[in-house]
């Protein structure tokens, strides 16, 4: 069975400090992995994606993620948090199958302290 686990439901960091949002996956197929961000009352915005090219992926707004096959992880990081980063973040697995189903993690709420 395929699944996505976001290890923290809530992360709080101070402005200017590093951000780490953790995501582990399990998949029988070679996965495509994505991070989406959702600001309050807004839609889902793609931050970055891994599709079997470089294992270190750079996204928008200074975020990046590293695909580690041995650890089945795809953690999202940012060197320095900004107040505007406060939002809900979803790790997503997209399977290459005839159904092409999207599997969402349960989300991590990122809070930024002044």
């Amino acid at each position: 069975a395929q699944s996505v686990t976001q290890l923290d439901s809530h992360v709080s960091v101070s402005e200017g400090t590093p951000v780490l949002l953790r995501c582990n996956y399990s998949s029988s197929y070679s996965p495509s992995l994505f991070w989406y961000v959702q600001h309050p009352n807004k839609g889902l915005q793609l931050l970055l994606k891994y599709t079997s090219a470089a294992t270190l992926v750079k996204g928008i707004n200074g975020f990046e993620a590293e695909f580690k096959k041995s650890e089945t992880s795809f953690h999202l990081t940012k060197p320095s948090a900004h107040m505007s980063d406060a939002a809900e973040y979803f790790c997503v697995v997209i399977l290459y199958s005839s159904a092409s189903k999207i599997i969402f993690g349960s989300g991590t709420r990122l809070s930024i302290r002044p």
Partner: protein
């Protein structure tokens, strides 16, 4: 660049009324997905369509139905609305096959349905 368009953005309905949500995919995308996101919840897959045929079904209530039209836009019809149907409804579109896996899915901004 064109994105996924959903309408309306906000909708308020009373219990037992009906509602129709619309989704216009990115041009040339042939697959549409519907998701429901309740307050504080992660998105739950409802139903998907490929080339105007239902391709997959998730946790969609029997009171809901959906279809994809010849121009690839999709409509989600919701009847006998209940308070618990209040949620943000997302639509996503993709192009079936390796392209969708490589490039991901594009989501609309959602329709916020409030049932009172």
């Amino acid at each position: 660049a064109a994105g996924v368009i959903q309408s309306p953005r906000h909708l308020i309905k009373e219990k037992r009324e009906t509602a129709t949500l619309k989704c216009y995919p990115i041009p040339r995308h042939d697959t549409v997905y519907w998701y429901q996101q309740g307050p504080g919840q992660d998105p739950q897959f409802l139903i998907s369509f490929y080339e105007k045929m239902q391709s997959d079904k998730g946790s969609i209530p029997d009171r809901f139905s959906a279809q994809q039209f010849s121009d690839y836009h999709s409509e989600l019809n919701m009847s006998s609305l209940e308070l618990g149907d209040s949620a943000l409804y997302f639509c996503a579109s993709s192009l079936r096959g390796r392209t969708s896996r490589d490039y991901g899915y594009t989501f609309g901004s959602g329709t916020r349905l409030t049932v009172v």
